[in-house]
Amino acid sequence: MSGVMKRMGMIFRAKANKALDRAEDPRETLDYSYQKQLELLQKVRRGVADVATSRKRLELQLNQLQNQSTKLEDQGRKALALGREDLAREALSRRAALQQQVTDLETQHQTLQGEEEKLTLAAQRLQAKVDAFRTKKETIKATYTAAQAQTRIGEAFSGISEEMGDVGMAIQRAEDKTAQLQARAGAIDELLASGALDDQSGLAKDDIQSELDRLSGGTDVELELQRMKAELAGGSPQQAIEGGTGQSTSQSQPRDTPRFDKQ
């Protein structure tokens, strides 16, 4: 096993594959991921809304403080006009305290405004990323579906070709079997003919009987031939046959009448 990065990669892949194997459909995983991103985007948007609300509240408070400040200034002026410097001093000191609050709130307002702008930008960027992911997700899903269909088609094709292969094999086997049977039949015939095998059908004859048959068969042909010759010569076939059987009673047979001796 080599370096750290390869080993980590292998472990990661093995684990990821295991995790993916467990997932019923990667398209669902993508949809789930997209859902999570949308939730995140929703959170960011909610954050933007919260900051904006706080900013609005600060603005309202600032307005109120400004109004109070103006009111205290007026009261101070009036007090002075009425010769009540003590009241005027009180009004102005309260106004000064309010002004301090106003300054603090303005700083907070600026900070919130900056925060809001940043969050709005982040939300926009995230929105763009989520949109891009959605497009990519749909592409991947489409590719996956296409790949799945392609695999199914491929499987169907390979299934067909396998079946064809099976048919081919069956034909081959049948041909082999036929050839084998033919060879076997030929061999049996030879063996029967040579007498090495007994014919269980009872039709076979021993070699002596075969020879006798052959000889008698030949004689029958000779006999037939002689009878035909006698017919042509005008003699009675009956006689000839009779003669052929060795029971000749006629002496008027032509000279060339063959002898019907059995050979």
Partner: protein
């Protein structure tokens, strides 16, 4: 090839750099196995710097499977060793 630096993201690297990175990677493995924490830290930093320097960062929303994975820069020797046990990175 795509190299992931854990906690940082992915980097696209030309295969031609693999030989020099492999040397560092093997060194890192040896240091991890011998328990040389200082050496491990030094080599990991060098290796990560090299990967960052030689590679081009992939955008965060890229969906590319990683060919190689490197521990995060702050990973300890023990953490990496634990990752490489039979249990792997994700338990179960």
């Amino acid at each position: 090839m795509i190299v992931r630096i854990m906690g940082e993201g992915q980097v696209r690297l030309d295969d031609s750099h693999l030989t020099e990175l492999n040397k560092l990677d093997d060194e890192l493995l040896a240091e991890m196995e011998s328990g040389d924490e200082a050496g491990f830290r030094r080599t990991l930093t060098t290796l990560l710097d090299q990967v960052r320097h030689l590679g081009v960062s992939l955008p965060d929303d890229a969906l590319e499977p990683s060919d190689l994975i490197l521990p995060s820069p702050d990973a300890t020797l023990e953490e990496v060793r634990a990752m490489l046990t039979d249990e792997g990175l994700i338990p179960g």
